[in-house]
Symmetry: C2
Subunit: 80 residues, 2 copies
Amino acid sequence: MKVRVTVMLKDGVLDPQGKAIAHALHVLDFGSVGEVRAGRVIELEIAETDADKARAQGDAMARALLANLVIEDFTVEVVA
Amino acid sequence: MKVRVTVMLKDGVLDPQGKAIAHALHVLDFGSVGEVRAGRVIELEIAETDADKARAQGDAMARALLANLVIEDFTVEVVA
């Protein structure tokens, strides 16, 4: 199964990458853009046929390696 | 409206970050993990009330700045 883990900075944590993107978009005349938050997405192929087990594995991997839980939140979706 | 742009390397483009994550997960005993692909997600607050227009803006911003279309694909979703 394919699992997608999305990692974003927690609300309230300063996001300099997002601020830089917002600034660049304003320079490019995208004036309607407000707050921008940047994050990571990791797609993992897991040798598992049960969606719940695949999701649980993705959750365990996010906690062990993919996310820094002090400053980041993550979500896990089974996509295929 | 809030728009989420997800940027991933195209299939066939070498993904060293994904390979490094896969290796680290194997070291951590997640043996069921196969291919791993890493990408970026950018959440943008757009001053627009029409979902189709917000999506079109996200698409234009991805083409102008957020994705390198030579080696990357992107998807745009309206999330709120």
